[in-house]
Symmetry: C2
């Protein structure tokens, strides 16, 4: 399968954005020490989904998928743990 | 490129999970009519990233990527609009 460079670049930009998006949420929740507006269901499903994406990346040996999902997994797990602790 | 069925299935499950994850957050924010614990930065970056994933899917003609990102775009935009309205 040959992917044009431009599509690849769009994919990398997309991966960077959807990964870094969780940094401001992690920071906001950490700073407020409150997480009542953050959905437990969202972060439970999200962490499960990101674990599946990580498995998918490992099965295909796709390094960008692996790296992006390890970063998202750390950030989403951090938000999930804060949600559980700040109840 | 040949992808084994099992990896494809893992990818579809992953896509379903990371897409549906936003439903409980949209519902929680809608029900509370408050969004002070939701990060504006997160949803601004996320919506931009999902738009880039959608463009990536369109460039590759990858229907599962297109569908998953249209659904996520609708949900994430809904949360972003609530964040802006409930200030």
């Amino acid at each position: 399968m040959s992917i044009p460079l431009s599509a690849d670049m769009v994919g990398y930009i997309a991966a960077c954005l959807t990964t870094t998006a969780f940094i401001p949420q992690a920071w906001l929740t950490w700073r407020r020490k409150r997480a009542e507006g953050v959905s437990l269901g969202m972060y439970l499903i999200l962490v499960s989904g990101v674990l599946m994406w990580l498995l998918y990346g490992l099965m295909l040996g796709a390094l960008p998928v692996i790296i992006a999902n390890i970063v998202t997994l750390v950030l989403a797990s951090f938000i999930l743990i804060m949600k559980l602790l700040y109840k």
